[in-house]
């Protein structure tokens, strides 16, 4: 070791090499495996943002870890210098300035891109938007599907098919679906994992979230807000993305199956006010 090594440059060099190896690995190799994958446009957008964030987080974390480990190895107190003090250094204006500049750039960049993404091309990016969405899909009118949560099951209504209500959730591919999520009792949350969709279900409130599926295939639905005793069991929903033809066929079958009960259902609305019922919490 030279008598007076330039520690800053050494740390920078180690960090640069590690970051130059790790960051592309994380982004290019890890990125495509990040949840929630690419089953829908919204999931793709989330995965893209997760990849970008991984690309930001990796070099930052490496910088802090490399610096700390270097400091511990290099400046660890030895028996020989017991009782000695470190250098007298109260701060460094230049370092502080650069740190703040970097921090502000990252913050503004991350927030700006995230906001642009969900208000713009992500059409909500799978995040619920409340009763009056800021981001709406253009083009063809989306298929409206209502998600009604109650303890401890989901019901789905299709207003464009006569207010059909069914315990199954099927949506067509390559078409925007406009979920209207509400609850008949306590707060639930509608989470269609691989669709990248999450929206709380609140009694008396309408919560809109958009999704467009890329290809047919099954997906999982589950409740992700604690809703009482059987919260953990609120995932047994038959749900899938279907081709246009399969979807039409499925709708026809459902309409046939539930034709008897549709007249007895309350008229389709965005919120319902059932009489409070006495259920165990």
């Amino acid at each position: 070791m030279p008598a007076n090594p330039h520690h800053g440059r050494r740390i920078l060099a180690i960090w640069f090499v590690l970051a130059a190896i790790a960051t592309p690995l994380v982004v290019l190799v890890g990125g495509p495996h990040l949840p929630p994958q690419d089953a829908t446009v919204q999931a793709e957008h989330q995965q893209q943002i997760n990849t970008i964030l991984a690309g930001v987080v990796t070099p930052i974390s490496l910088a802090i870890i490399v610096y700390s480990l270097y400091a511990l190895v290099t400046w660890r107190s030895r028996q020989s210098d017991a009782g000695a003090d470190g250098v007298l250094l109260r701060g460094d204006r230049k370092v502080v300035t650069w740190w703040i500049v970097a921090n502000v750039i990252i913050v503004v960049g991350v927030v700006a891109y995230g906001t642009y993404d969900w208000i713009g091309p992500g059409v909500g990016s799978g995040s619920a938007q409340g009763p009056t969405p800021l981001a709406r899909p253009g083009g063809e009118k989306p298929l409206e599907v209502q998600v009604i949560a109650q303890q401890w099951q989901f019901t789905f209504r299709y207003p464009s098919y006569g207010g059909l209500a069914t315990p199954e959730l099927m949506i067509p591919e390559d078409r925007y679906v406009e979920f209207h999520v509400t609850s008949l009792d306590v707060v639930h949350s509608f989470w269609a994992v691989s669709l990248g969709v999450k929206a709380d279900a609140v009694g008396g409130a309408d919560n809109v979230v958009y999704v467009r599926a890329n290809e047919p295939g099954p997906f999982r639905v589950q409740c992700s807000e604690l809703c009482g005793l059987y919260h953990g069991q609120m995932y047994q929903v038959t749900s899938a993305v279907l081709t246009e033809a399969d979807f039409a066929q499925w709708i026809a079958k459902q309409q046939q199956t539930y034709s008897d009960i549709v007249p007895d259902l309350p008229p389709y609305a965005h919120v319902y006010s059932p009489t409070p019922v006495n259920l165990a919490g």
Partner: protein
């Protein structure tokens, strides 16, 4: 003392003490009175209750009886402990001063008694915190046992969710109390060169209320448990059986505790710093506590208001949180997280303080960027009030404000980054000593880095859609709270316990504790990010079999993590009780003022108030003077009475503490009432098509009369305080009495009006909020009237201010009176402003 208490009479003394134990203030009497209070409350609730089913689900369980039982039990507890004696005596006009039983005793027994010694209170907090931590930790082990299998075969859902709720609630309680309550109370006076905190009785009361809160929370298992988790979301909280009441009452008590701790330590730091201890020399731990106390005093009262609104829903049939009847579930989410997010930083900030306090000692360097660190802490505290809706990104509230909350959330990384930078800068070219406290500090940096990095995903709206409500967020906050604060707590325990107890830890066991904890902690929580992002929600008692492998791995790691705590317990028991080895007075060669004191620290800390000469981190500066002169030459009178003109063992607040304290209390009252104001505004805004009231209106005349009485009362009081200076006490007393009568009349009018309301609580949002808001105002005004009454009674003792100041020497009763009267003016003006806002919204706007 030893001369008098010879060997002839010890037995009778002991026996008579046992006989009198129920009559003398203490834990036994407190428990006995609590039982009596509980039975009385249950009986009262049965007499007047039963006719008010819960609006949310029509349940006819008698919630009122249980809540009244809890409230009167707490009153009995506090009464039996002896806290009623002092306020009672002030009401009778007794002179301020110490009572014999408030003075600090000796030996182990004092740790189980009410005391005004901040060091004993600090250790009591640590004992209580570690006990709750242990119970909550066992709950965590039970949770992980359940999750060993996917089908939930160990506990029934109700049991499991109660365990989850208890784990979260108790951890939050413990952690918010442990660092500030334990180390804050113990260390702040030592670090700022004071003999006590500003309000030692309030400091003790906060501790014993926390104990009551923990017991109330635990008692929920006796009445059915609660299945809402620590967040108590509505309307689930309206629906759950009796055990839910325990949660709301316990959190109400915690809110009071946090507010009182914040009040006491904030005022202590502002008014009781030793000469020479400028803000620029304040130790970082004190800065951390200072930032935390701001959050405590200004966020916790919101929680108190929210829990009251919830309790009213369950007991007297209001519908604050019942969406279909004019309330809103979002109201609770907003109120809870307005408290809940600052609460996160109530947990984190003391940890930052501990980190930056300890790092310079073990790098043998001055703190890098002192001012930056201070700005960082205050910045975190300020920003934490602006981010709460990031918990509501997918909740379904209007999304217009979402970009703003996303930005404010990310912006917290800037002041937090300052703290990181200062920590890292302090490592630069230090002489780093890898002691056990230092290891915990370094692990804190690593863990908080992981926590912060995962926080970037959560603050990003698109990414949040997947991570919210999943095990991802659960892993995130365990990295920040457990990886941050609990690590800081252990750093503090290993660092300061040698000063507190005078005993050293076993180094080998301590290192074993650290390494098992660090490895097991990361093995437990790192995989949970993956589990969550792949689709496993939080708080589930069963899960999809696909997640089983990772869950089993996590459970086994968690058991090892639990075992690492056993290592700590063994170390603690061995080194503190079984094989005691004395620690050196300053084993770390720290410059901190607290380390300059002898071990054990004398009851009154400093023989004389020290003169602080320099900052505590001047390691490596050969020219730096010692941190303080412990024996400065000052006039003799100061050494007898202390710098503030009070006898050293007097627990009464100093005049400046009274004034600052009144301001903090007023601010806390505003936040408390703001919970109801927010409920009003929110429900009115939401209420375009819902239920608001039943068409009947409250009388404008009645409202105007009430407001008029309060305004006239305040006006009379303002004139009175002006006369205090010119005409003396006699001139003040007449108008102050008028003010009291008018204030009491306003309370009477409020109560009368509540009794003759033209609507019932179930009629809608307005009706519900009206009742809650008015009750809260009455509570504030009752407090104010009590304060004024003590002033009036106290004024009878003071002939003229000048004479008293001269005659009473070291105990200036009149100075106390003048300060208290001035503080009361601030408080009462605040109450009047609150009343005016309520009048405009509840009576004029409707």
């Amino acid at each position: 003392m030893s001369d008098v208490a010879g060997t002839a009479i010890p037995t009778p003394t002991v026996r008579s003490r046992n006989w009198r134990v129920l009559n003398s203030p203490g834990v036994v009497a407190g428990l006995a009175y609590a039982v009596v209070g509980f039975l009385l409350g249950m009986w009262l609730g049965r007499v007047i209750g039963g006719g008010w089913p819960r609006a949310a689900n029509g349940s006819d369980e008698n919630d009122l009886a249980l809540v009244l039982g809890y409230v009167l039990a707490v009153v009995g507890w506090v009464w039996g402990l002896g806290f009623v004696r002092y306020p009672g005596s002030r009401l009778r006009g007794a002179e301020p001063g110490a009572y014999a039983e408030e003075r600090t005793g000796e030996g182990v027994a004092r740790y189980f008694e009410v005391t005004t010694d901040h060091k004993v209170v600090g250790i009591q907090y640590l004992i209580v915190s570690l006990a709750i931590l242990l119970v909550a930790g066992v709950n965590a082990m039970l949770i992980r046992t359940q999750l060993l299998s996917a089908d939930g075969s160990i506990f029934y859902p109700n049991e499991y969710l109660t365990i989850v709720g208890l784990h979260g609630s108790m951890m939050i309680m413990t952690m918010s109390a442990a660092a500030v309550g334990g180390f804050g109370n113990y260390l702040v006076p030592l670090m700022i060169g004071a003999r006590r905190t500003a309000f030692p009785r309030i400091q003790a009361l906060a501790l014993w209320l926390l104990v009551a809160g923990a017991l109330v929370l635990l008692s929920s298992v006796l009445v059915g448990g609660f299945t809402s988790g620590w967040t108590g979301y509505m309307p689930l909280g309206d629906q759950v059986q009796l055990g839910m009441n325990s949660y709301y009452v316990a959190f109400g008590l915690v809110a009071i505790t946090l507010t009182l701790v914040g009040l006491d330590l904030f005022v202590t730091i502002v008014t009781m710093r030793a000469p020479g201890l400028t803000w620029g020399r304040l130790p970082m731990f004190v800065w951390g506590v200072f930032a935390t106390t701001i959050l405590m005093a200004l966020a916790a009262p919101m929680l108190l208001g929210a829990t009251l609104l919830a309790v009213f829903d369950r007991t007297i049939g209001t519908v604050n949180f019942v969406g279909s009847m004019g309330g809103s579930a979002f109201l609770w989410e907003n109120l809870f997280w307005f408290f809940g997010h600052p609460e996160v930083y109530i947990l984190a900030l003391p940890g930052f303080g501990i980190l930056l306090e300890i790092l310079p000692v073990f790098t043998r360097k001055t703190l890098w960027g002192y001012r930056l660190a201070v700005v960082g802490m205050l910045g975190v505290a300020f920003l934490s009030f602006t981010v709460w809706q990031h918990h509501l990104f997918v909740s379904g509230i209007n999304s217009d404000l979402r970009p703003g909350y996303s930005l404010s959330t990310e912006m917290i990384s800037i002041p937090t980054g300052f703290i990181f930078l200062c920590a890292l800068g302090t490592l630069w070219k230090g002489r780093i000593r890898l002691t056990v406290p230092m290891l915990f500090c370094l692990a804190f940096i690593f863990n908080f880095l992981v926590g912060g990095a995962s926080g970037m995903y959560l603050s990003d709206v698109p990414s949040n859609a997947t991570t919210h409500g999943s095990y991802f967020v659960m892993a995130h906050f365990h990295y920040t709270i457990m990886g941050g604060l609990v690590y800081a707590l252990f750093a503090a325990i290993y660092y300061w316990l040698p000063k507190m107890t005078g005993l050293r830890f076993r180094e080998g066991l301590a290192k074993l504790h650290f390494w098992t904890m660090f490895v097991a902690f990361n093995a437990t929580f790192l995989p949970l990010f993956l589990v969550g992002a792949r689709g496993m929600p939080r708080r589930v008692s069963t899960y999809q079999p696909a997640f089983r492998g990772l869950n089993v791995f996590v459970s086994i790691s968690a058991f090892v993590l639990g075992a690492s705590m056993l290592v700590f317990i063994v170390n603690f028991v061995v080194s503190q009780f079984l094989k005691r080895e004395a620690a050196e007075p300053n084993p770390w060669q720290s410059r901190g003022l607290e380390w300059q004191l002898p071990t054990p620290v004398p009851t009154h800390n400093f023989d004389e108030i020290p003169q602080v000469l320099s900052a505590p981190y001047e390691y490596g500066d050969p020219d730096a003077p010692p941190v303080a002169d412990l024996r400065p030459s000052r006039p003799t009178a100061t050494t007898i009475t202390g710098l503030h003109g009070y006898p050293v063992d007097d627990p009464d607040p100093t005049p400046s503490s009274l004034i600052v304290g009144a301001r903090v209390l007023s601010a806390a009252a505003i936040v408390f009432i703001a919970a109801f104001g927010f409920a009003y505004v929110y429900l009115k805004a939401q209420n375009s098509n819902g239920r608001w009231n039943n068409g009947e209106e409250v009388s404008v005349l009645f409202g105007t009369a009430t407001l008029g009485a309060v305004v006239a009362s305040a006006a009379a009081y303002l004139v009175a305080t002006r006369r205090l200076r010119t005409n003396g006490v006699a001139g003040w007393r007449g108008l102050a009495t008028v003010s009291f009568v008018l204030g009491a009349a306003a309370i009477g009018l409020h109560v009368w009006q509540l009794d003759t309301l033209p609507f019932s609580p179930t009629d809608g949002g307005y009706a519900s909020v009206y009742i809650g808001w008015t009750a809260a105002i009455v509570a504030v005004e009752l407090g104010a009237m009590y304060w004024l009454l003590t002033l009036l009674r106290g004024s009878l003792r003071v002939a003229t201010i000048e004479a008293d100041l001269d005659a009473n020497g070291p105990r200036p009763v009149a100075a106390h009176l003048v300060a208290s009267a001035g503080g009361y003016r601030v408080f009462w003006s605040t109450a009047v402003a609150i009343e005016a806002v309520a009048f405009v919204l509840l009576v004029l706007v409707r």
